[in-house]
Every structure is written in C-alpha cells, then in structure tokens.
Symmetry: C2
Subunit: 316 residues, 2 copies
C-alpha cells in the first residue's frame, strides 16, 4: 500500500455523510460539493497550527487532531453558525501509521462531538502543520458579527479563562498533579461553544472567540463597533486550579493569555434577561460597553500592562 493509500485509509472514514445531508460529494474528486439550504448563508473560517509555534514538538497526535478541529470550529460558534463540514490540509514529514491513526482518532472524536464531517483535503510532505477550514450555515443575514456592540451592552464570557495559557508551562510534564491535569485539559481539549453561539443568534450584539486573549480579542469588537468597555476584574471567571497554581498572576493570564476558545459576547441587558436559562447560565457578565473608546479594567491591580499587545499572524 502506497503512502497515499495509507493516508486515505485513515481519513476517508471521517467523511461521515450520514452526519449531514448537505454534503453532496465528499473526498475523492477534484472538489467537494456542499448544498446550502435555501434561506441560509455559508459561514467559513480557516485556522493553521504549526509545530513548534502553536503546539510543541512531539505533541500528542490525538490531542492535535481534537485541538485543530476545535480551534477552527470555535469560529463558527462565534458567528452563531451550525457546523456542516470541514477540509483538512495536513503537512507532515513522513507517513507514520501510528501517528496517523492517533491523529485521525482525535479528529474523528472531535468531528463526532461537534457534528462536522470531513469534506476533503490535501496531504503534503513538509514540516508538520495542520490547516483546517470549517463550514457552517446560519439564517441569511443573522450571523453574529464583531461590529454590533452598543453602549450599555453587557460584556460576557462563556467560561473560565487563562488556564490554557498556564498549561504551556507544563505541557511536557511526565507526571502532572491533579491541579495541573485540570489545567492541561483546557489546553488539549477546547470545546467550541456551538450550542451557546446558536442560542445567541438574533440576541447578542457582537461575539468573538478568545484565541489571542480576552483583552486583545475584545479590542477587535470595540474597534469594529466604535465603542469602549469597562471590565470588572473581580468577575473574570477562572478555574480554582489556576488560582491555586498561579496566585496573583492568574488574573493577568485570564486577561491576556489565549488558547481558551471561550466566547466573548456583548448583549443588551433586556435581551440578556430574556435569554433561556441555559443560555443565561452559560454567560458570565464581566463588564459593560461604553461610549468612550478604550478598554478599562477595574477592581484589581494589573501585574503587567496589557497595552501594546501584538503578535505575528492572525486572521486576514
């Protein structure tokens, strides 16, 4: 069996057409074909993870499979979209059957969990990198954008922050303690907030998924909406394990570390009050949108300034 066949054997089972009748043609032709239902818009996003940059060398292929699909699918959650299918552009130095089997298994598990089927892809030889493009749909004109935040809106997040960033310190630990394990899980297995995102369609005024850190990502909403915000540091949710391990440094991680893939959402107070209880409980209020531009954090001394945050790369 050639390497080409080997790869195909691992990935074609992921093309679970039963998962969606919208995938008219899956892997194996020049293109895949998706039928977008009448009255729906196609919503799509691509994310690349590079070895040594977005995950460490010799990272677990099972975790990489889950994580790569979760990171991409999280963008669908932020738009309030319903997942349909994805493509996989996988670059790897050699085709090792064990590595491929584990990677495909992690990908398959995430694919089942998120309800998103493999539509096609490309495998190439080169330094290890995974690029995944996810496709979803949303009722025409109703995708949640970054530009709709208005003064008076609540600023909310969908879960605890900072843990994935803290996990970078001990990703390679051979015998992590209980607290460390809880924190590592947040890095290895992010969960796109798909159900919440869909509940917020027509309700939230803006949303973004937190990949670069709360302050940096909220800034995108503020810029594109032409508003400012004030956050209360006391309300930023954090895992107790993070507070125990990091002490006073926990808040700084929660504000500036990325990789948590929770949602940051703005919503008018009356719309928040009218949410179904299960959506309300999924949103932790951390601040308010204000007319005055800029982002202010009250309620705690910052251990380091969030100003001047910049990084190489990002969405085009």
């Amino acid at each position: 069996m050639g390497e080409f066949e080997l790869i195909r054997r691992f990935f074609v089972p992921l093309a679970n057409k039963a998962m969606t009748d919208q995938l008219v043609l899956g892997p194996g032709d020049d293109c895949a074909i998706q039928r977008v239902p009448e009255g729906r818009d196609l919503v799509f996003s691509v994310d690349t993870l590079v070895e040594g940059v977005h995950f460490p060398a010799n990272y677990s292929p099972f975790c990489l499979g889950w994580r790569a699909l979760a990171v991409a699918t999280s963008d669908l959650a932020a738009m309030g979209a319903t997942p349909v299918c994805f493509t996989l552009a996988l670059t790897l130095p050699e085709a090792q059957p064990e590595w491929l089997a584990d990677f495909a298994q992690g990908l398959a598990k995430a694919s089942d969990n998120f309800g998103i089927a493999l539509a096609g892809g490309d495998t190439t030889r080169g330094p290890l990198a995974v690029s995944i493009q996810v496709h979803g749909t949303v009722t025409q004109g109703s995708a949640i954008r970054r530009s709709g935040a208005r003064p008076g809106d609540l600023v909310c997040v969908s879960g605890p922050l900072g843990a994935a960033g803290a996990a970078l310190d001990f990703l390679g630990a051979t015998d992590p303690g209980v607290d460390q394990q809880a924190i590592l899980a947040r890095y290895h297995f992010p969960e796109p907030r798909l159900v919440l995102g869909q509940q917020l369609v027509g309700r939230a005024s803006a949303a973004i998924d937190i990949s670069d850190g709360l302050l940096a990502d909220l800034e995108h909403i503020l810029e594109q909406s032409g508003v400012g915000a004030e956050l209360d540091a006391k309300n930023i949710p954090m895992l107790p394990e993070l507070r125990r391990i990091k002490g006073a440094a926990a808040l700084s991680l929660a504000l500036t570390a990325g990789d948590d893939y929770e949602l940051c959402v703005t919503i008018a107070p009356d719309r928040y009050a009218a949410l179904a209880p299960e959506a309300q409980v999924g949103l932790i209020i951390i601040g308010r949108i204000q007319q005055e531009s800029g982002l202010r954090v009250t309620g705690a001394e910052m251990t380091e300034s969030p100003a001047g945050f910049d990084h190489f790369g990002g969405s085009v």
Copy 2:
C-alpha cells in the same frame, strides 16, 4: 505598525467584494460569509504548496502567489464550476515587506484573472507554505465528476503537457534561452481552464485537472468510472520547445510529469461533435475509453514504464 497590521495591509485589498455580490462578508471577522444563489451548489477544494517540496527555496514570491491560486482554482475548472472566492492560509518564517508585497501582487493578478476574491484567511509563523481553498458554484447536480466515463467516450486534454515538469531542471537558471523561457512560463503561470470547464458542464462525462501527470490522473477517472482507456501517443500535445530540448524524453514527461494543470476530459463522440467551435478547439483528442480495464498507450515506445506510480500526499 505591527507585523499583524503589515500582513493585513497587503491582503485586505484582495478582498474585492465588487468582484462578486456572493461574498456577503469578507476578511476581518471570525468567519467570512458567502451566499450561494438558489439552485446552485457550493464546490470547493484546498491545495497546499510547501517550500522545498512544491516550489524551490527562494522561489519568486510573485510567481508563488499566482501559482498557488492557479493550482487551487484548476480544481474548480475540472468540476465546471464558476469561481467565487478563496481563503489563504499563509505560513511564513518572517514578515518581510518586499516579499509580502510581491506575493500579494502575484496573488492579486491571478485573482483578477480568474475572477475570484479573497474571503479570509490565517497567517502563521513557520516554514514557508501556502494553503489556498477555492470556492465556486455550479448548477445543482451538474458538477463534472470523475466517475462518469463510459466505453466509447473520447479522451481529450486541454493543452500541451510535460513542459511544467521539464521546467524543474532549470527553475534557477539565471539566463534561460528562448525555448527554456517558454517552458518556464508553463511552470510559473499555469492557467486554470475555467471557461472550457464551464462549457463542458452537461456535456463531458468526466474531468480531472492534470496535477500529478496525465497517466496518474487519468487513472483516477478510469478507477472511479470502472473502465479502461487506450491513448495514442502520437496525439499527445507537446510544446515544440519541449520536443527540441528533451528529444525522445519529451513523451515520457508529457505522460507522467505533473504541474501542467491542463484538464483531462472524457466525452461521448456525439456530444463532442455538438460542442461550440471554441470548446471543440480547446480539446485535443488523445484516445478512447474502453470497457476493458487498464490504461494502454500505443503509437510510441515508452522510455520508462508508467507503472507503479505513487507519491506522497494528494487529495484526501
């Protein structure tokens, strides 16, 4: 200006919304949004080019921009689809303004030529690689697949073969001769056969774009259609420059070398006869589909056996 802003400055102008009213939301949010017209299917494909594998180190960024988009768009041509938009996942070691400007210019030129607008993307730090996913549409149910070839169909190609493969020998030549320049152009600036592909919708029985070599790619049609074929080597089109430079080895290149991005098409003789003259002239008849499985080449001694062709990677 941060590196992030630098990259955005070069690519956002490519998001030419005027090019298509189907791109509802371009770069700058969590996802892009495409509206697929009623009665049309979304057709999409991803291709990755890795430095040192698919193009040489220090390759011209302008050519890389063109080539990367052409290679991906060629898959739309093979399905008979009309291009709409694309995403760019660009991994590069550092953000050099000159390199980025040249790359963006090559990409922009190809984008204008093929009528396909940038919808979004992701830029990451790492070893140089370009992954592009193209989106097109086709009337529902009418995409040209690989599985429709029937005994008696003509086998055709859309242009001369083998030159892009021959170009690999002197990609780095500082002072290429006239013949070499003609051959290099076939490598640097492939032209997806979009107009021809669209003319063949509802007429061709199968099509594939020639990325891996005529024999290897035609084999995909034969396998998926459950048929065989006989080709007449005397009819395989080749550039005169290729014959002059490669002599007797030209045919082998035309049969087995990839990177030309012409189409290989099967079509029933009566449908071929009924084609518009401009479509007919774009198709060179090189053989026949047969009931008996296998691929036979007559009319010339092969200098090497095409059997056992395998390579690392390919479409999932």
